[in-house]
């Protein structure tokens, strides 16, 4: 870990004549050449990271609703289908986040997703982050993605919900109604126990809770049971998201074990969503394209893949639904063989 700052974080103030002008709070302006090798999609107002070797990374897109703050790369679970590369935190990560935060203005913070790793591992840093974001923009809409385990500590749950005010939705991953299956997916014995207690604690503090169920080979058979369990044990959640797999990093490595073609679980998904609806618990489908989802479920689909990660196949060009399709993960190592253009809506 080097103590010296070997990067520069700044906000794009101008892009003119092949030169990007960056300004940063507490640092001098910087002008860098903007050549063909640079990412083309830099806009005014974006916040970029300039590395020692002059690589440019966009940290924050001024016109996006998908901006993410990765507060830590560390995680206390080892999910079989995790699409995040496992890396250790460095001094730079922490410093970059600090620099990013100092450059964020009120208008930048309409929609923020805080994720990791597991963001709740950074107890005080997370509380500070929530407070700072809401201080800059009290009306910011914040999503905190978490496995919920740390909330088994009631006082921590209370602190987070207090810091996040009513602006923070806590999105907790739940992999199964079965503690056995949940734990075998997370790789951590006792993880269901802690997440379940975390959910009850969050509810007691009045948190706005979403549950996220990643659809995979290990849990799809019990989707209606998951719906039953949510209805029975966690009926207080505001929303349930069923999410398609991103076959990247660990998930790519375990693809054989975790991947299942969505048509194979469509029946179970239909039942789960209908059963939740009858219990007045709203749900949505994330990260799947139209052609892999039963038409009766199209109304539940959301355009959830971040713009820069979204892709289509050549055969999608002749699809009637392409314009509004949530698309595919560019980052996945392979795509479903069932993808095909939709030629008729009836």
């Amino acid at each position: 870990m080097r103590a010296e700052q070997d990067f520069y974080v700044g906000k794009v103030r101008a892009i003119k004549n092949g030169i990007i002008t960056l300004a940063s709070k507490g640092a001098s302006k910087k002008r860098i050449p903007f050549s063909a090798e640079r990412p083309v999609s830099i806009e005014n107002g974006d916040i970029v990271l300039l590395t020692e070797t002059d690589d440019v990374h966009v940290l924050w897109r001024s016109h996006s609703k998908d901006n993410v703050i990765i507060i830590t790369n560390a995680c206390n679970q080892m999910c079989r289908y995790c699409p995040q590369p496992r890396t250790a935190d460095t001094f730079s990560n922490v410093a970059i986040n600090r620099a990013l935060l100092s450059n964020l203005e009120k208008k930048d913070i309409s929609f923020v997703t805080i994720t990791g790793g597991e963001p709740t591992l950074m107890h005080s840093a997370l509380i500070d982050l929530l407070k700072q974001l809401l201080k800059k923009n009290p009306l910011a809409s914040i999503a905190l993605l978490t496995n919920g385990m740390e909330f088994d500590d009631m006082s921590f749950a209370y602190e987070i919900v207090k810091a996040g005010k009513s602006q923070t939705r806590i999105c907790v991953s739940l992999h199964s109604d079965s503690p056995f299956i949940h734990d075998s997916i997370t790789g951590v014995p006792g993880s269901f126990e802690r997440t379940a207690l975390g959910l009850l604690n969050l509810h007691r503090t009045g948190a706005d809770i979403e549950l996220r169920v990643v659809l995979n080979r290990l849990n799809f058979e019990r989707l209606p049971d998951i719906a039953f369990s949510i209805g029975m044990n966690f009926p207080f959640v505001s929303h349930v998201a069923f999410m398609g797999l991103e076959l990247h990093a660990t998930a790519a490595y375990n693809a054989k074990e975790v991947w299942v073609d969505p048509p194979a679980y469509m029946n179970q998904l239909k039942r789960a969503i209908y059963q939740l609806q009858c219990r007045k618990i709203p749900s949505s489908i994330y990260n799947l394209p139209y052609c892999l989802v039963s038409k009766s479920l199209w109304a539940y689909m959301r355009d959830s893949i971040s713009g820069w990660k979204k892709t289509f196949l050549p055969l999608c060009d002749s699809c009637l639904m392409k314009a509004t399709c949530p698309g595919l993960f560019m980052t996945s190592i392979f795509q479903s063989p069932s993808i095909r253009p939709i030629k008729t809506i009836l």
């Binding site: 009850l200 044990n233 209908y274 009858c278």
Partner: protein, 479 residues
């Protein structure tokens, strides 16, 4: 050394049993249910493995049982989740009486063979609630701690005291400016005396109308006698009149007698013809006049058979695309599939009588149920909780009788119920028990119990074996 040996020989259980009850089904499988209503089915072998502590971790049965919190390997989550669901189910115990039934008059404009309200017949001079008593009743109702209340005007035929009904509604609306409760008013009427002015008032105040319909004319008129006309013909005419003028639909209640029990399919068809979205099939209450007429009643077995046939018929109808539900089954399904109280005051524990529902008689006497009021009318006044002009509602609710009913309706303390896997979804009626035995403490294996068990068993079986279409229909009933 000795301690060590002990530790080694004493087999450490890999999982802990949560409290559950079970039953051997006729199929040879076992049905299990937990304290908060989680349930599972197990094969005989798996059940034996479960209780002999040899269930294989990760086996299908293990996964199912642990997911349903019937076993646990954790320290707290399964218990906390169970406690949380149980609290949600029993929240009504803390929220005060929500249903307030006000008997406006003992008089009636028609004569029904099965009347359990023991009303006076047309022409007889019947006691009516005075404005003075109505004020006291209204004040008592508004002093109830419940935030949401339903005030049901009953009789006899409450329309015979229409002016007092109107007065009470206006008076309570005035009191509610300060109390700020959510009040719904329900008028229980046979609709036979409906007029323009009433319809306008009902519409203006958003009053719900509860009425009676026993089937097509031949079935309806058989036991419901209205001087000078067919009760059915006039009912239909006035129902259409009411519904053409108001946005709400009236909900008819069916009284099942021996006459229509074996023709429930016809009754259901009639309800559908009249545009109803469901029917409430509940057995006849053998109180009052009905108890005297042995041509009206039927056995529990007869009822169950007819009821289940009716449910099968309603499922068929739904499969044809008509949305129609049986309200009792819908209610039980809600209890099976969610951890919420349904607001229904019967068949639950603790018993709703005196706790969730209060009945105010014409003279201001308060009873835990209509049956209790009837028994008082026939001389047994032990069931009277108090009078609104002599006591505060708080004291009335705390009366000895309310406590006895409460204490006698906890299934964990009742032999039979305490080990019954259907008790999380069921309840006893201590007043019925009292009327039959002179004591509140229920006994198992009553015909009531047999009926509830059979219906619940049938519903669980349907849910378990449902194809996707049937499952959709059953779930649509709880929506």
């Amino acid at each position: 050394m000795l301690e060590n040996q002990n530790a080694n020989t004493q087999k450490q259980s890999a999982y802990t049993l949560m409290p559950f009850s079970f039953e051997l089904l006729s199929s040879g499988d076992y049905f299990l249910s937990g304290l908060a209503g989680d349930f599972a089915f197990l094969s005989k072998n798996d059940f034996y493995a479960l209780v002999s502590d040899s269930l294989v971790i990760g086996s299908k049965a293990f996964i199912e049982l642990e997911a349903k919190k019937l076993i646990t390997r954790g320290k707290a989550a399964a218990r906390m989740m169970t406690a949380s669901a149980l609290l949600s189910r029993k929240m009504f115990t803390f929220s005060g009486p929500r249903l307030h039934i006000v008997v406006m008059t003992r008089g009636c404009n028609s004569h029904c063979d099965y009347c359990h309200a023991s009303s006076y017949s047309p022409g007889e001079k019947a006691p009516q609630m005075t404005i003075d008593i109505a004020k006291s009743v209204a004040k008592a109702i508004m002093s109830s701690p419940s935030r949401e209340i339903t005030v049901e005007f009953q009789g006899g035929e409450p329309v015979l005291s229409w002016d007092t009904v109107r007065f009470m509604i206006e008076y309570m609306r005035m009191l509610n400016i300060k109390a700020a409760k959510q009040i719904s008013f329900v008028l229980c009427t046979n609709l036979l005396m409906l007029n323009q002015e009433m319809v306008e008032y009902i519409s203006k105040r958003g009053i719900e109308v509860s009425t009676s319909l026993d089937g097509p004319a031949d079935l309806h008129d058989r036991h419901r006698h209205f001087p000078l006309a067919s009760a059915h013909e006039l009912f239909i005419k006035n129902l259409q009149f009411l519904e053409s003028e108001t946005s709400k639909k009236a909900s008819p209640l069916l009284t099942v007698t021996r006459t229509n029990l074996f023709q429930l399919r016809r009754v259901i068809d009639h309800y559908i013809e009249l545009g109803r979205n469901g029917i409430f099939i509940r057995p006849l209450n053998l109180f009052g006049r009905a108890a005297l007429d042995n041509t009206l009643g039927y056995s529990a077995e007869e009822f169950i058979e007819a009821y289940i046939d009716a449910l099968e018929y309603i499922l068929e109808i739904n499969k044809r695309g008509i949305e129609f539900r049986e309200f009792m089954a819908a209610l039980l399904l809600r209890r099976i599939l969610t951890p919420f109280d349904d607001g229904f005051v019967d068949l639950k524990f603790p018993a709703g009588a005196g706790l969730s529902v209060l009945v105010y008689d014409v003279n201001g006497d308060v009873y835990p149920s209509d049956e209790a009021r009837m028994m008082a009318a026939s001389g047994d006044t032990r069931l009277k909780m108090g009078n609104v002009q002599q006591m505060s509602l708080k004291d009335i609710r705390n009366s000895e009788i309310a406590r006895s009913i409460f204490k006698s309706s906890i299934p964990w303390l009742i032999p039979g119920c305490s080990s019954c896997p259907y008790s999380p979804y069921c309840g006893v009626d201590p007043i019925r028990v009292y009327s039959e035995t002179g004591d509140f403490m229920p006994f198992s294996e009553s015909s009531e119990c047999q009926k509830n068990r059979t219906i619940l068993r049938w519903l669980f079986d349907k849910l378990r074996k449902a194809d996707q279409n049937t499952e959709r229909i059953l779930y649509s009933w709880i929506a």
